[in-house]
Point group: C2
Chain length 428, copies 2
């Protein structure tokens, strides 16, 4: 539903929101922040500022006030869509109409003075595999003759990930130790991963969930999307190759995952929804439970994605981060978010408010759109050369990876996701 909150002419009395900011008045993402040693509070980002929504709750719809007093977004996510829309509309009015400036401004904090936290208590985390070009590229490395398995175009492939080790942007990642086995070795050895990689993904926060045994019909699935964030699903490729048969990735993925702290709401993303790209000729139709005309018509969201790297040497040389790849959801996603939600619940599994789904690595069809070093370096065979002459097959200690995203559509103000960044510490 596109309404006046998306009006491209609407501006904020917070000046920094009106240029090319990630957080114009059309965005109004939700997050959890703290100032100094104070308690965590729910806020929204506007330009270079964060608005304290707990302090502001007297001016906000009464239905949302109790949820806004929590230190995580779970209760807010669990509210009916209409309540979350009412919050957005009221915030848009308060931050655009200068008559409200005097009562709102005391509750603004410079974002630079704030610390961001995990937006929700993540009960369960599921990682999907919707990037068909990533699945194809990785499949080629493991199974040259049979890169895409027969189930891929029928089943939105996913697996359960580890919720406890998800951290907000900025928390350093310790290189994991683990078992690896060289193809020609008799036995595995133990030590730091030598093939540490990032994965460019989007995260999806679940709004209201479903009861155990009660699947979510695809017609209702969009109401279960609270919003999106960036997700870096750090992966130890050498650990994965040795451990993943027959039950899937485990230690190769569970040592750390990083998300951007702002939840870009489903409401803010409404103008960027468009028709799902039609499947290539000859591809099977989804089974009826995954098929819905509305989802076909507006289930795809167009988001431009970018991966940058900043190495220790680049920092020493005062170089800026260097772009490794640019991709987009439209080029990458074989399944829509609604299809992921419906598939996840179709056997009866209950989703809960605040659960996180990962899309899987969002690589486009071209090499320059690859969402991981595994793909950029052809499985480590062809190192990537950086502008300063350094090369990378996989990540080195001190490397910082920075993911960004931006939703753009003709006739609308584009909105950003902020950053998802973290650097690698040596193994202990």
């Amino acid at each position: 539903m596109i309404d006046q909150t998306h009006d491209p002419k609407r501006q904020s009395w917070v000046d920094s929101a009106n240029g090319h900011s990630d957080f114009p008045i059309q965005n109004l993402p939700l997050g959890v922040f703290s100032v100094g040693g104070e308690a965590r509070r729910i806020g929204t980002a506007i330009g270079d500022y964060i608005v304290d929504l707990k302090a502001l709750s007297g001016l906000l719809p009464a239905e949302v006030a109790p949820a806004l007093s929590q230190p995580v977004l779970n209760d807010l996510f669990a509210l009916p869509v209409a309540d979350r829309r009412a919050l957005r509309q009221r915030l848009s009015d308060l931050l655009s109409d200068a008559r409200h400036r005097a009562e709102v401004e005391p509750h603004l904090y410079p974002a630079a003075d704030c610390r961001m936290h995990l937006p929700a208590r993540i009960g369960d985390y599921t990682d999907f595999y919707v990037g068909i070009h990533h699945a194809m590229a990785v499949g080629k490395l493991f199974r040259p003759d049979n890169p895409l398995l027969p189930n891929y175009k029928h089943v939105p492939i996913g697996y359960h990930g580890r919720a406890s080790s998800i951290r907000e942007s900025g928390v350093p990642v310790v290189r994991p130790n683990g078992q690896t086995k060289a193809p020609d070795a008799d036995a595995p050895s133990f030590g730091p991963s030598q093939r540490l990689d990032y994965e460019l993904e989007l995260g999806v926060f679940i709004a209201g969930g479903n009861a155990l045994g009660q699947p979510i019909d695809i017609k209702n699935a969009p109401d279960h999307i609270a919003g999106l964030c960036l997700l870096n699903d750090w992966s130890a490729r050498d650990l994965q190759a040795w451990e993943y048969q027959p039950l899937g990735p485990f230690l190769a993925k569970n040592f750390h995952s990083t998300i951007s702290p702002w939840v870009i709401t489903a409401e803010a993303l409404a103008p960027f929804r468009n028709a799902q790209p039609s499947r290539p000729d000859g591809d099977p139709e989804p089974l009826p439970y995954l098929n819905d005309a509305d989802d076909q018509a507006s289930g795809a969201v167009t988001i431009a994605l970018e991966v940058q790297i900043l190495t220790e040497a680049m920092r020493a040389q005062n170089l800026p981060p260097q772009t490794l790849s640019r991709s987009s959801t439209l080029a990458a996603m074989y399944w829509t978010i609604a299809q992921l939600i419906t598939h996840h619940s179709v056997g009866g599994c209950n989703l809960m408010a605040g659960d996180l789904l990962g899309t899987g690595t969002l690589s486009g069809p071209e090499k320059a759109q690859a969402g991981s070093l595994l793909e950029l370096s052809d499985g480590g065979k062809s190192p990537v050369t950086l502008a300063n002459g350094e090369t990378r097959r996989f990540l080195a200690d001190g490397d910082e990876v920075i993911l960004t995203a931006r939703a753009e559509a003709e006739g609308f103000v584009s909105i950003g996701f902020g950053q998802c960044r973290a650097h690698i510490l040596p193994a202990i």
Copy 2:
């Protein structure tokens, strides 16, 4: 550490605890119960009664009192081992010494009048695969030439499961719908699973956890075990066969898992620990991080396990449950619980108090020790005939599966786990 709480001569003034009860004074398991519509409270089982530990907390060590006022065991699990031991010792004294009867008895409830709940808020659930005979039997069905993959004897194989759909014993299981594909079909179809199965497992509740990036040394791993329960990891074999490549089981397992409600504490199980069975000649030594002389000497716990079935027809005929198989941890487990904990954390993954680990299906080497119908029926090829003439390849609607377990050792009073049971409702 074996102390007076394990003294086989110790008896309780609660008479029903002194016969062949699952819950003699040597057990003292921890759980969460409620009476009528009242709030959930922490309790211990003694014979046919439950003791309200919140109400009793004035008589218990001061360090544990705040944790006992919670509606879940997480805070209690997170306390130092010494505090949990002190609680056990005090409870053992209070329930054995008749001088305390007058002050304790008002806080006893007949177990038959109570409802049991999930013992902890389970943050993350991980399922392992330590049953080597199960891995071999299942491997033979999928890969006749190569049943046990090369990593099995080096890596304690595990995968992340779904925490939100774990329920306590007694909650019915709805048969899941999902995609399946017959080997000769061109495309998958959608409908109720036709190969619904149980899996006989033990669950391990984590006590204190570890910080992200800080592995748990195997010498310290036993202190991170709060206790054990029974776990039925319901599995839809036909969904699993179609979906599990390349990322592992997903909808085939996440529709429901059932646990027994009483946590049999690590302290209660101390007398039943013994040397890990030596690996067959030619099997590799575990890598050093998984190797510890103490763990070798006392890391295995001997627990007898049993699976029973009660079908709708048997209920109509007033027949008792029929035993399908009997197994034991000692025959089944290739890895110790300490090895699972250390392996899980070795790359830096943080475990949290209240997390649940599943052992994997605990089948012994003989057919009569198989922990699933998949094994008992040779993958559905040879139906099992029940005493009343019914046959089962997989579970039918109305079937109830009952898991029980008992720890036994010469010179000690054996202790039981209570029941883990649930019946199958038709697909919706």
